[in-house]
């Protein structure tokens, strides 16, 4: 077990693994997102209340769920890096932050486009929108702290600590704004009980969520590989792997 973890944490091994895995996740993402989006746009029945306008859900919900998922992953990777001093975990956390921020931004943007016809306004100070916005600020803070520290080792550890502090605070922020104000429709898919959505609509949504997940993994692998290359630029194994001597 420990041998496996150490092997997995070594940059050369990760480099080779990411080269192999990236196309698999990339193609899976392309197929799933194409299927989910086409299905959602053409095959799913229109909503009885919101008509055709609800179809933006096929982008909005996956990106919103990814925004939180990526933050948790980033914080866990950062914690692993901080506790067991695994450089690769820091590289993964650093690579995940811009992707997560993009998902968060996409969720806010699609939410805003959806809100205009449904609520009559681009933006409302609703609990979920606000906590999503705060999440975006948390990502920005993480990236800004990382960018502000020149020494790589220190940047890794300081930003990891910040990510963990943020992770502890996410539930507090979420519940505080929820208590403060809420207008957003309740969650569409909840683990407990029957989803509040028709099966024909739900299938395509789940496909898209899976597709977004694969997309995240593929981009994370590429981005973390770039980070590994940048950090190991003087090392021998990298020159061998790239075929430069």
């Amino acid at each position: 077990m420990w041998k496996f973890i150490h092997k997995f944490g070594s940059p050369p091994h990760f480099y080779r693994l990411s080269v192999v895995l990236t196309p698999w996740f990339g193609w899976a993402a392309a197929i799933l997102i194409t299927a989910g989006t086409l299905g959602g746009l053409y095959l799913a029945p229109p909503d009885y209340q919101q008509g055709e306008g609800f179809r933006i859900i096929y982008v909005h919900v996956p990106s919103a769920s990814m925004s939180m998922f990526v933050y948790v992953n980033m914080a866990l990777a950062a914690a692993v890096g901080l506790i067991w001093r695994i450089k690769l975990a820091h590289a993964v956390a650093a690579a995940a932050a811009p992707i997560g921020a993009s998902f968060t931004f996409l969720a806010l943007a699609t939410g805003s486009i959806w809100a205009k016809p449904m609520w009559g306004t681009w933006w409302v100070w609703d609990a979920r929108l606000t906590s999503e916005l705060v999440l975006l600020f948390l990502y920005f803070g993480y990236m800004a702290l990382r960018a502000a520290i020149d020494d790589e080792n220190r940047a890794d550890r300081a930003s990891a600590l910040l990510a963990i502090i943020g992770l502890i605070n996410i539930p507090i922020i979420k519940y505080s704004v929820e208590w403060w104000n809420t207008l957003h429709q309740p969650a569409t898919i909840s683990k407990m009980g029957k989803p509040a959505m028709d099966g024909d609509m739900l299938t395509w949504l789940l496909l898209n969520i899976a597709g977004f997940m694969c997309f995240f993994i593929a981009v994370l692998l590429i981005s973390a590989r770039a980070e590994v290359i940048r950090r190991a630029r003087d090392q021998k194994w990298l020159k061998q792997a790239l075929g430069v001597t």
């Binding site: 705060v134 600020f137 948390l138 920005f140 803070g141 800004a144 702290l145 502000a148 520290i149 080792n153 220190r154 550890r157 300081a158 600590l161 910040l162 963990i164 502090i165 943020g166 502890i168 605070n169 507090i172 922020i173 505080s176 704004v177 208590w179 403060w180």
Partner: protein, 227 residues
Amino acid sequence: MEVPGLGQAFALQVGRDMRLAFRHLGQLANPLMFFIMVTTLFPLALNPSPQLLEAIAPGVVWVAALLASLLASESLFRQDVDDGTMEQLALSPQPLALMLLAKTAAHWLMTGLPLVLISPIVAYGLFLPQEAVPVTMGALALATPILSLIGGMMAALTVGLRRGGGLLSLLILPIAMPVLIFGARATDLAMTGMESVGAIYLLAALLLLAMSLSPFAMAAAMRISLD
């Protein structure tokens, strides 16, 4: 050499920081002045009608308090890191978390507590109803230490950096948002004559959480910054 116990070390550290702070009263008054100035700007920028000011008073008081404590947290550890005191603290047999908690406590006594004490005057200037004033003071007394602790964590993370200021606000404000929400809610509820004890309890819970966890985060952050 005899090593002082935990309580004694805590008291000594608080005493030292208070003495140092009293010798630079000018610096110390800055956040307080800032608090008063910001709350003065609102009647000038909007119009000074009592109805309008009364409606925005909870928000103004709480945002001003948040910004004032943000301003104050910048200087929390800087001097000690610059002159090497912090390294001695990190090397001392006392746990660094405790010493930083003591420093934050002293910092709160010198910057947070005056804010709580001056808040009735500010509230009066904004036509906040009388019955909301005690609740606001109580809520501020619970909230400002939380803000000091959050500020302490983030100040410890950024203390070695040159461009600290803007970054510090980007790090503190999202984390401090629940404090602002609960605090303003407490004032708001008290203003409309409703029971505000729920918000106060939540603030107290947040304070306990911050007091128990943040010293360790502060110490970890400080050790990273001192490297």
